[in-house]
């Protein structure tokens, strides 16, 4: 283990760059301070390290220490200046936009498009032999869109070869420039007729990074999207997402390789699952992407929804979820036109923050939809999940209105962890709790926690160098227990009793359509839950549950709203209900705590 008593770590998100200071005091590692600044991937800076310097500069102000030296984070430490270690993660590269090529529009090109969409990408153009365009028009189109990655499909096994080579020549002629790091070779995932791979490789030469996977349409009747989808996802996670203007410079500053943010968070989620001994679902919702992590049994899964997020991707959440689905979470009226304009303005000025109560509620409504869609994506993409409906297409997944119910066994879930600005920095912890409950709709008994100050990425990269230090800070300073949600699964008429409960000395009943909060600290207390016939809290329908539950920054939330959660269709009733629920758990900005 390197001797490091002062560690500076940054996470360069697509919107915000966060810096933390970890110090060893009397043999223990603790968080000492945090600073943040907007990420600087736009002009006039066009250099992610400017945001790093600003965030670390703020850390200097907050802690009164000096870390910057010669225009960079100074390592190794000299006297009181600089740090022993400087580490960073990055997701500054933002979303994933792909170009897809195929031979026949209605066949391979459509399959390829489905594979890309399934991996969470936005398909910005589809080039097909029969797309009605001439080669020079295709070249001009490819040049203008600057794709992050290309998926080439076409030809069943034993089928077309020449047409694939023709399309390859178009790619070479277009010579698309990477949008970020110079010298980065654009990845081409080849998932077409295997007989053409040698020819394709020869034509592409060394201008592209060619990766061959199984043919995604081996026969006319069979679609085999898995390998292409997984490769797209892997490449994005490992190579595209962390890239940003100035990334090369950042690499020369850090004491260990820059890690992609989802990889780093994934490390911490796995550690958390081991510590807690429970099935865990974690989310990191950022400006451009939303990452979901799950540990069910021994199975760890990580998915990056590359175009669901709270700033750069906010308009895409609006396009995918629909305005009605966003508006349904608002306890106050707002015209669709106004809602749309506000979200568009957030997209074009991604680093702004809500100042008014109404704006905060709107962002939290968007977050519920982004989380819901990301969980559906996770359920569709992750492998080995209990209850996953493998045959679902993305279209099915995105049109469902309920949360992730049905995609995985939410009843067995022990803990949900929320990270990312909208959750970690929610002005009230109860707001973070309610966003996660509404979006994920956990079933039975589930604990909730948030990453206190959005530091799981930095701890993840620290774990690769000093695992004990990372775990010490994780245990003491990172996870904030919010409490436990008890959600009986079943349907009942408004006002009917769905469950009797006893927690410590207190007892009562939960009615259908009711949300109750019991203030309880993080200590564990004895609890008994008796669901009414037809309702289940984990032991089976109508069966009693007895055990220990704990509270936290929020408390124990008794959720009688049923699963799947259905909102009143009448606007006034819906808003009244939402207002009641938000106030019931003290989540209304300006309202009672």
């Amino acid at each position: 283990m390197p001797d490091a008593s002062r560690i500076v770590a940054t996470d360069c998100g697509s919107t915000t760059t966060k810096a933390i200071l970890i110090e060893r005091v009397k043999g223990s590692y603790r968080l000492r301070g945090r600073g943040e600044a907007p990420t600087t991937v736009e002009g006039p800076f066009d250099d992610v390290t400017v945001g790093v310097l600003n965030a670390v500069g703020e850390l200097e102000e907050v802690t009164g220490e000096q870390f910057l030296r010669d225009g960079r984070v100074g390592t190794p430490r000299q006297g009181d200046a600089g740090a022993d270690l400087y580490l960073s993660t990055s997701s500054a590269g933002g979303g994933l936009q792909m170009l897809v090529t195929g031979v026949v529009k209605t066949m391979t090109a459509e399959s390829a498009q489905r594979a890309a969409l399934g991996a969470g990408a936005i398909v910005i153009d589809v080039i097909e032999v029969d797309d009605g365009r001439e080669d020079h028009e295709r070249v001009a189109a490819i040049r203008s869109i600057r794709p992050d990655m290309i998926l080439m499909a076409g030809g069943t096994e034993g089928g077309a070869v020449q047409q694939l080579l023709d399309i390859t020549e178009v790619l070479v002629a277009a010579d698309p420039r990477p949008r970020l790091t110079k010298g980065f070779r654009l990845p081409v995932i080849y998932a077409g007729n295997s007989a053409a791979i040698d020819g394709v490789r020869q034509v592409l030469g060394d201008h592209f990074d060619l990766i061959a996977v199984d043919n995604l349409r081996p026969t006319l009747e069979r679609e085999h999207l898995g390998p292409a989808r997984e490769e797209i996802h892997r490449l994005f996670l490992e190579h595209v997402m962390a890239q940003a203007p100035g990334y090369d410079k950042l690499l020369t500053w850090t004491s260990a390789p820059v890690m992609s943010t989802p990889r780093a968070v994934g490390e911490m989620v796995q550690l958390a699952a081991r510590e807690e001994g429970a099935d865990v679902l974690a989310v990191d919702i950022g400006g451009a992407t939303t990452d979901i992590f799950s540990v069910f049994g021994d199975q760890f899964n990580r998915t990056v929804s590359a175009n669901l997020g709270m700033s750069y991707s906010v308009s895409n959440v609006m396009a995918e979820a629909g305005v009605t689905n966003i508006r349904r979470w608002l306890p106050l009226p707002i015209a669709d036109r106004e809602l749309r304009n506000r979200l568009r303005n957030k997209m074009i000025r991604p680093t702004t923050i809500p100042q008014s109560r109404e704006d905060l509620l709107l962002e939290q409504a968007v977050a519920r939809e982004a989380l819901r869609l990301a969980l559906a994506h996770h359920g569709a993409l992750a492998s080995g999940l209990k209850g996953v409906q493998q045959a679902r297409t993305m279209a099915d997944v995105f049109t469902q209105t309920a949360g992730g119910a049905g995609l995985m066994d939410l009843m067995s879930l022990g803990l949900i962890i929320g990270s990312g600005g909208i959750l970690s920095h929610a002005p009230r912890r109860a707001q973070a709790a309610l966003m996660m409950i509404d979006a994920f709709q956990p079933e039975g008994i589930t604990r909730l926690a948030v990453d206190s100050i959005f530091m799981m990425p930095q701890l993840g990269v620290l774990a690769s160098v000093l695992p004990e230090a990372a775990m010490e800070v994780f245990r003491r300073d990172c996870l904030i227990p919010l409490g436990t949600v008890i959600a009986p699964v079943g349907k009942a008429k408004e006002g009917e009793t769905v469950m009797a409960w006893q927690i410590g000395e207190q007892s009562g009943e939960v009615k259908a359509g009711q949300l109750l909060l019991l203030r309880l600290g993080a200590e564990e207390v004895e609890a008994v839950f008796e669901p009414r016939r037809g309702h289940d809290v984990g032991e089976g329908r109508g069966k009693r549950w007895q055990g220990q539950v704990s509270g936290g920054a929020v408390g124990v939330i008794l959720d009688g709203r049923g699963r799947p959660l259905e909102l009143p269709s009448d606007d006034d009733l819906r808003m009244a209900k939402l207002d009641e629920w938000v106030r019931a758990i003290g989540a209304m900005p300006g309202g009672e705590r």
Partner: protein, 371 residues
């Protein structure tokens, strides 16, 4: 003190601008380093061979393939027009004549006596890349294109749709606070219109129908944008839309007056040729839409360094509700975190709005206004 604000977009009367102009296929570069070019100068050209059409002539006139040459009305190399006779039979006693006509205009490339087919190649098509901006060639990329450099006024918009267009700048409203009304749009053929605070979907359509090549405006509503492009834009990657005029927003969505400085600069350039591009990519490696007006001569002013520090006295625009779009001057920068209406604790600035009112705004919600 660390910088913590949204960087502003470039609005400058004089900057050095470089444009990379490339053919979409290999061809011939027609300019040399040092050449002066106008916006319309063709810098590179390629000829795309015409499409080859196979005509089953023997079958059409009902002769054996080997008999085809004897019946041909035209030979290899002949230039034919659509519907010209390619071959005919005499029939018997003047009856049962048959003819095969060319389905396309082109050149007869082959008469095949084995298959009975005639191949006609359409005329080659010319693909050209123009300079887009007037300036001087500073680099030639063999077989592909050139780099054009010019001193130019440059205005970056915040969002746009539609690709490259050119036209003479024409003010379409009388001030930066006016909305563009459909019924005031007159003759604007070949113009890039400049409007103030907004434009309805109908006004955009009317401008396009009147021949405008572009519209630069403070803001439009999301509704007007959807109506204009015909769908909901999810991720902000634009430029490929099939729209008649390029639309560039300088401020955002809703109804927002164009910044005075932007308006003044564009007004001072009225009547001059502008090269515009609505293409936008809001992600790392951002691309913003541009309006470029090249100078015949440098103004000598040089490009001023954009103001990059949020300090007391700088002019700012608030870019988030509840004061979205308001302009003012920073009068206080409290160092401590302050609770705002959302109950978040953030660093704020106190801004004196142009009307005299003093308001607080998170520093992250301020945009510096240069000049």
């Amino acid at each position: 003190m660390p910088v913590a604000y949204t960087p502003g977009l470039r609005v400058t009367a004089d900057a050095t601008f470089r444009a990379l102009r490339r053919l979409p296929m290999r061809g011939e570069v027609l300019v040399r380093v040092g050449d002066a070019v106008s916006a319309e100068t063709v810098v590179a050209r390629a000829e795309r061979p015409g499409n080859l059409h196979t005509v089953r002539v023997a079958q059409m006139i009902q002769v054996e393939p080997q008999e085809l040459p004897a019946h041909m009305a035209v030979g290899v190399g002949a230039v034919v027009q659509e519907a010209d006779v390619l071959a005919r039979t005499q029939g018997m006693w003047g009856l049962f004549k048959s003819e095969a006509k060319s389905p396309v205009s082109g050149t007869v490339e082959e008469i095949n006596a084995a298959s009975g087919h005639v191949r006609i190649r359409e005329a080659p098509r010319r693909i050209e890349t123009v300079a887009h901006i007037a300036g001087r060639v500073t680099e030639v990329i063999a077989g592909e294109g050139a780099v054009i450099e010019a001193r130019a006024a440059l205005v970056q918009g915040i969002f746009g749709v539609g690709g490259e267009r050119r036209g003479r700048l024409k003010l379409a409203t009388s001030s930066p606070t006016d909305r563009l009304s459909a019924d005031t749009i007159g003759d604007c053929s070949g113009c890039v219109l400049v409007a103030g605070a907004g434009a309805s979907g109908e006004a955009i359509r009317r401008a396009a129908a009147a021949g405008a090549t572009g519209l630069v405006v403070g803001a439009v509503s999301d509704e007007a944008l959807r109506e204009y492009v015909g769908y909901d834009i999810g991720v902000a990657i634009t430029g490929q839309e099939n729209v008649p005029l390029a639309l560039i927003l300088t401020e955002g969505f809703g109804e927002l007056p164009m910044a005075q400085r932007t308006w003044d600069l564009l007004a001072s350039l009225e009547g001059q040729l502008a090269a515009i591009n609505g293409a936008t990519q809001i992600r790392a490696g951002v691309i913003r839409p541009e309006i470029i007006v090249t100078h015949k001569q440098t103004t000598g002013a040089g490009e001023s360094e954009p103001e990059q520090s949020l300090v007391i006295g700088v002019r700012v625009r608030i870019i988030r509700e509840p004061h979205f779009g308001a302009l003012g001057r920073v009068v206080e920068l409290p160092p401590e975190l302050i609770e705002i209406e959302t109950e978040s604790h953030v660093r704020i600035a106190v801004v004196e709005l142009d009307g005299g009112e003093r308001v607080r705004a998170p520093r992250a919600n301020l945009e510096l206004i240069q000049g």
